[in-house]
Symmetry: C2
Subunit: 343 residues, 2 copies
């Protein structure tokens, strides 16, 4: 059986280019004992993958299930698929599964621990399991509730607020009773945040020349919680504008991913005197203890129409590279997913 | 009654100079109802005061009891003194008190809440209440146990390890069962850490050209806890060398205090992937809940000879400016105190 997959042609430092990706075809080897062959339906497209594509990054050593990506080899990611063949007693043909699948038509899953059968909840598209019911949702939920430890009425700032995680953080924060301001990179996204997602306010950071005074304008009495998806200058300005005992959830740093010069300069005097806490985290940290609660709360909210689902779906395996590149240009609105095959 | 006091001649940005300080003489006004007049015996000399001397700093707004210092006016600090006159029912002549006293021979205390009678514990010098039994000790104790949340066997790195707080952090960490490495700025301090204070290892940062590889040499398996008193390049290097789930106690940033260009560049990719926590704090945060435990544990350790007390005492009010300037040159070993008058 032939299998198309996407790979990188080289390790990537800086901004990724289309030429650094190629589509290859392999012949799938015969199925072996315990193997499960999964046909990919939807694959998750995430900015963090760029760190795995570098020559060196702490992503290679700090995260057990997301090690270095080697040019020419498969690239694994969260995906939803259908079992097409199984030599594993836990799975049968036509099971719908979530797991670590490749940027490929088919994945031979050799480690069943990276797979789980999906409660498909037929009322929802399967793609939701990559976004709002998947890693993005859990990151937003765990990051906001466990890392930020919010109190009702607190002032919350979210960067990349129209992104896969940011939009959910803002929505959870509003539902919880916080005051929420988001920033994004286009006028359309800003309007979406204010008009569709219920943010109290939002701004286009590309139109601002002095982020310190921008944040002072939106938070005259200080920021209690900053949910940081970008790092860099925005993080610096947020620290300057934080209230005493403010918390920074360090979820991502997309501005650093493609430009190591953009690292944030932390004003440690502010951090000390204002007793600011900066906490890095990954969604995997919440899986064991929080997934069940997260799913229950989130499905209820979606059913009740209180949480708005933002998805940005491309189609066909060939579209993976451009979908991925688009993340770094701010092209996606909400969760970026590629549909590889029809359900 | 005449009263000599030290003041600044100008707000100070950058490295403080002797010429920016002067000694002035005032006539003490008559005592009023509720006043307590305290003769200063020992006064605490602390790096953070430089932040209060600036035109602007988060120290002015974030800390209730340590607001801006104005040129020509008195400078308050932790001090130990003897009551010489009292119109306050809570205090009588000859009471020994701890409180917010001025860099002066006498202080008229108008707010009795800034004062407390001292259990002098005659076996110890009164100066200990400014260092090991005072703010430095509480900062080290609360910062290490409450902020760092150590586990036995963890690897701890302390900067400014021969300083007033650092030396105690290292000693508490050793007594608790951690592996401890400190850095300091002279050969003598390094020897002191290793030979007298029981640090597992120590190095002179001035002799190192690449702090990243220095820390890798001392912590080949990573740093679990970094107790940061300096900020800047040392903080950057510590983050690079931290283990997953590492904690940074942001206690001070002396390298930034006199040079705002020295701000640390935080590698947010490391912080995210390694789930690093950076937490600012002040000793006042621990006063209500931890002071009693701190005193009980610390006095027991000192009595048993398990904690070594490092004090650096100058004499006479005239020596305050040079004592203060010396902090930024790394001249002090342990807690810097000026004895203003004989007990």
């Amino acid at each position: 059986m032939k299998n198309k997959f996407i790979t990188i042609t080289t390790h990537i430092e800086g901004t990724p280019q289309e030429s650094m990706f190629e589509i290859k075809t392999q012949i799938l080897p015969p199925i072996e004992s315990n193997d499960v062959i999964v046909k990919c339906l939807y694959i998750s497209i995430d900015p963090y993958q760029i760190n795995r594509m570098k020559h060196q990054s702490s992503s290679h050593t700090s995260v057990a299930d997301a090690s270095k990506i080697t040019p020419g080899m498969e690239i694994n990611s969260g995906g939803v698929g259908r079992v097409v063949a199984s030599e594993n007693s836990g799975y049968v043909k036509d099971d719908i599964v979530y797991g670590s699948l490749n940027w490929a038509e088919y994945t031979i899953v050799k480690n069943e621990n990276t797979l789980r059968k999906l409660d498909t909840m037929e009322e929802f598209p399967l793609s939701y399991h990559l976004g709002i019911f998947g890693t993005s949702g859990l990151t937003a939920y765990g990051g906001f509730f466990q890392v930020c430890k919010p109190k009702k009425g607190e002032k919350v700032f979210v960067s990349a607020a129209a992104g896969s995680v940011g939009n959910l953080v803002g929505q959870y924060a509003k539902l919880f009773g916080c005051y929420v301001v988001g920033c994004a990179g286009t006028k359309q996204k800003v309007e979406l945040l204010k008009e569709k997602l219920g943010f109290d306010d939002a701004f286009n950071y590309k139109e601002e020349t002095d982020l310190n005074s921008t944040l002072q304008r939106y938070f005259p009495n200080g920021i209690d919680i900053y949910f940081d998806n970008v790092g860099g200058e925005m993080l610096e300005a947020a620290i300057v504008n934080m209230s005493p005992f403010g918390r920074v959830a360090a979820c991502g740093a997309i501005s650093h991913y493609t430009n190591s010069q953009k690292q944030a300069t932390a004003n440690m005097i502010d951090i000390v005197y204002k007793r600011i806490r900066i906490q890095g985290f990954l969604s995997t940290d919440f899986y064991t203890n929080d997934f069940k609660d997260f799913m229950s709360v989130t499905t209820d909210y979606v059913r009740a129409g209180k949480l708005c689902v933002l998805e940005d779906v491309s189609h066909g395996i060939e579209s993976i590279p451009s979908a991925f590149l688009g993340l770094f240009q701010g092209e996606n609105v909400g969760k970026k997913v590629v549909q590889i095959a029809q359900e």
